[in-house]
Symmetry: C2
């Protein structure tokens, strides 16, 4: 049954191969001082940096740069970003990059106008922002996290081996996001497929809960089918606009709160993957793929009817003459075949995790309920060991 | 291929059997003067009126009523509503009812602060509002039009036999909408199924265009499958909360612009149905159902691959040993069976249309392109004649 809920998502999206020009429509809405946030500099190679700078200049903005946002943005970097934004009296934080840059910009946005330590406040104590929030805009160069249309932010603390996400409310969501599928063309294949698996897993995390049959489940299946189909095109033909645009659009809707409405969710693949990420600093999507199959095979008996449905509706598994469990397991086998085909990590060992890290990763795994099985610590250890 | 587009929909939704209480959260955001808009008084029978009035009073609002909004709100009623809202210096227009009340409230909202005639300005000349727009909130008692989360407004002019819709931009969308599936329980069955068909047709109108395979098409299929399944539950068990809640939520997403992103659309079933509505004043959803099958059978050859996909994905038609056309036609035959089962009108005659009206309805039919076949007038006449 659809549980009670509220929904609001006011991010303005500009989508398409001409979408950057709409930055000209958005900039006049904000003050003069812009912090331009980006990562390792790939945007300087593909021309996006120059194009953005030229629009910022044409709009008379006073720009400072906050570069070097890492794939897993750290608490230290966040503190540095807050200082930069404060010193610049930022009127707008403009993130140009993938989900890491967007996540980071949102974390800065809620921290500029408070004197508390942002890591402690938002990622340890899970406080909600009470201070003024600096507006965030995003120019996306990678499809995956959905950060361009949600309030989520994941920050990593290397000192404590913690990678923790805070899902903020609607007021923290980006004011606008610019999605040009062509900006994702130059992404290395490994990053592309990590993003694709991240999208797929976001949908799974919200799909695998409940025994009812509500609109959200149908929408989740729709998004999964589109992602699977287009991923197989994109791995052979990364500049296929149709495939990359559909992946980009599905990514946004995979994690903008729509498909979780009325459902409970436990996000355990992310909890396991993020804990592993805190130890290995591996690419986010790859940590998720590495733990997914052992986790799903473990919870399959507790959510049998949904795993059966997943097999039939998403993977086209034939039902005749098979038990429910056989059908459900065949679905996961098909999913594994697809994961191998697109080339995501299937073990944590590939990502640098070792046996001696298992206990530490298990300690760092936040166990949530709302899914088919609330894990105990022994189960976490077993799933992580099977993921090695 | 996904065409370029923008997307923003900032309506805050409260969904569930406790959702009315959130009116208390919304009212303080607006000034004292509220115009309470409703229809024929059914809300006085089912308790919704009393509940709303009590919340308005508890929040110290100064309320005037604008009642009697008809199922097809008229230009005359719109002019009256503008006068009421002007005289009351309205700070908020609160529509309590179905799509008609929401549509009407939006039409009033863009007309209060202009001296031009609202029918002429928005439904003849299709001007966009340049004046200040009075905020609109909706409390929904019928699932169907999606008006609770879009900028659409359909107004009927009896003098000229015209029923015309204007899709306004994001600034005209309701600021908030309250969706309590239980408020739809007391709706007469005929109204319920008219609403359900309206939802289904909204999805079809956006689905039947293009030969590509984009996310929107998968999402459309998801919504259709959910609506079909739950409609069959609801016709036998109208107080089945699960069915009514899923229908209500699907209705919102069927027409809040999401599933048309990146696509062209011609909305020809609505153009034909609304033209018939201008002559018969019949229930909106029923005018759509009456013209749908003749129209879809007519355009099937021009959009064969999509009608084939519709048959297989939405209606589960088996493909083996059949031509594409046979599969596609079987899909429409299945759709017809479902329409008969839920009990929607299958002819315009049932709705009071007669042969001598055909030429007039054809004249009133706005022919749009963007679908599989841009109709000519002869085709419109033929489809309307086949719909009699």
């Amino acid at each position: 049954m659809l549980g009670n809920f509220s929904y609001k998502n006011a991010t303005k999206l500009y989508f398409g191969d001409d979408s950057l020009k709409y930055l000209n429509d958005e900039l006049p809405k904000y003050g003069k001082n812009v912090v331009l946030i980006y990562g390792g500099g790939s945007i300087k190679k593909n021309g996006v940096y120059d194009a953005v700078i030229s629009i910022l200049k044409a709009n008379g903005k006073n720009v400072v740069e906050d570069a070097g946002v890492m794939p897993n943005p750290t608490a230290d970097k966040l503190r540095e970003g807050v200082k930069i934004a404060k010193a610049h009296n930022a009127d707008l934080l403009l993130a140009v990059g993938g989900g890491s840059c967007c996540d980071y910009a949102k974390a800065v946005s809620v921290s500029v106008n408070t004197d508390e330590d942002p890591w402690e406040k938002y990622f340890v104590k899970f406080d909600e922002p009470t201070c003024e929030i600096v507006p965030v805009g995003c120019i996306l160069t990678m499809a995956g996290t959905g950060s361009e249309m949600n309030g989520g932010s994941v920050i990593t603390n290397h000192d404590t081996h913690q990678k923790i996400g805070h899902v903020f409310g609607e007021e923290v969501m980006p004011k606008f996001s610019i999605l040009n599928p062509k900006f994702t063309f130059s992404l290395p294949k490994r990053q592309m497929v990590a993003g694709i698996y991240d999208v797929f897993n976001h949908i799974c995390e919200q799909y695998f809960s409940g025994t009812d049959d509500n609109v959200s489940d149908y929408l989740a299946e729709a998004l999964m089918k589109s992602v699977i189909k287009n991923s197989l095109v994109a791995i052979d033909d990364p500049e296929n606009y149709e495939a990359r645009s559909n992946i980009m659009w599905a990514a946004t809707w995979a994690l903008n709160t729509l498909i979780s409405r009325g459902k409970t969710t436990d996000w355990m693949v992310h909890m396991l993957g993020q804990a592993a990420g805190g130890y290995t600093d591996a690419t986010h999507g790859m940590t998720l793929s590495a733990v997914s199959l052992p986790y799903y095979r473990h919870i399959l008996p507790y959510g049998l009817s949904k795993f059966r449905r997943f097999a039939v509706e998403v993977w086209g598994v034939a039902e005749n003459g098979k038990t429910d469990t056989e059908i459900a397991e065949e679905g996961l086998a098909e999913m594994e075949k697809w994961m191998r085909k697109i080339g995501v990590a299937l073990t944590l060992s590939e990502l640098g995790a070792t046996k001696d890290m298992i206990e530490g990763i298990a300690d760092a795994t936040i166990i949530l309920d709302g899914g088919y099985k609330t894990l105990n610590r022994d189960e976490v250890v077993r799933i992580l060991s099977e993921s090695l």
